[in-house]
Assembly symmetry: C2
Homo-oligomer: 127 residues x 2
DNA sequence: TTTAATACCTAAATTAATTATGTATAAGAA
DNA sequence: TTCTTATACATAATTAATTTAGGTATTAAA
């Protein structure tokens, strides 16, 4: 019974995110790019990596991450491989061949997106 | 009766958008920035301006734009002023004082967002 | 005279993400 | 040694932005 209490208490320590609206729609691109960069990663590792790279500014929620990974896997962009480390489960994801190609497309879209957003907010540089 | 036919036919010419997922969440920032830049604008003008600046890459849908404008107005960030030009209605929007301040915040968030996304996809430049 | 462009609007459906849980092991602090 | 935190997976209900698909009306162009 005190196990249940632990869960209740533990839930209090879970960080709430108030990420800017802007990050909506960028999660898949981030996942794909990190996997392309690092070969294989597991979910929790991705959240920590993103937190580190963005200096704590972007915190991916588990509720967003895991369904996103499952969807990318279902779409054939990711392969999964389960490992047990220290009696703890880890699901390593890596890009499939299709996933590698799609990652290129997504990164190209991201470049266009960033260029367009910069044109919109900093017109002096462009016109 | 042929008027109704015109509407039916006309609907065929409405462009469908396949904008990248990445633009989701950026509409309000775009609207606020354009208004800050141009003083006052009406809805249709905003869609055309965005299309021009992004060289046709970003096409804002009316179904997204008008509700967004109404919401920003309801939140007190925009003021509206109706004009009739060539017997056609135009609703000009401009930033309120609060809206001007909020625009600064949103632009700052956008800068952070772009910087973070660039760190994520181009780690060589940062690490 | 039909089509396309200008100009506003909304409602239903989709969908990504948030919020709030649940479960379990290991490490560290009290 | 007990409580807390960190590691590690997961899902279900809700929220909210956007898409999709309409609707209405005037002016310009083909």
């Amino acid at each position: 019974m005190y196990k249940n209490l632990m869960y209740i208490c533990n839930s209090k320590y879970r960080m709430k995110m108030k990420n800017s609206q802007l990050y909506k729609g960028s999660l898949n691109t981030i996942i794909l790019k990190l996997l392309e960069e690092n070969g294989k990663m597991y979910g929790y590792e991705i959240t920590q990596k993103v937190k580190a790279i963005t200096l704590g500014e972007l915190n991916i929620t588990e509720g967003a991450l895991y369904p996103a990974l499952h969807k990318l896997e279902a779409e054939g962009l990711l392969d999964v491989e389960i490992e047990r480390v220290d009696n703890r489960l880890r699901k390593y994801y890596k890009l499939t061949e299709t996933g590698t190609k799609e990652t290129m497309n997504r990164l190209s879209e991201l470049e266009d997106f960033i260029r367009n957003m910069q044109s919109l907010v900093n017109p002096k540089l462009e016109f």
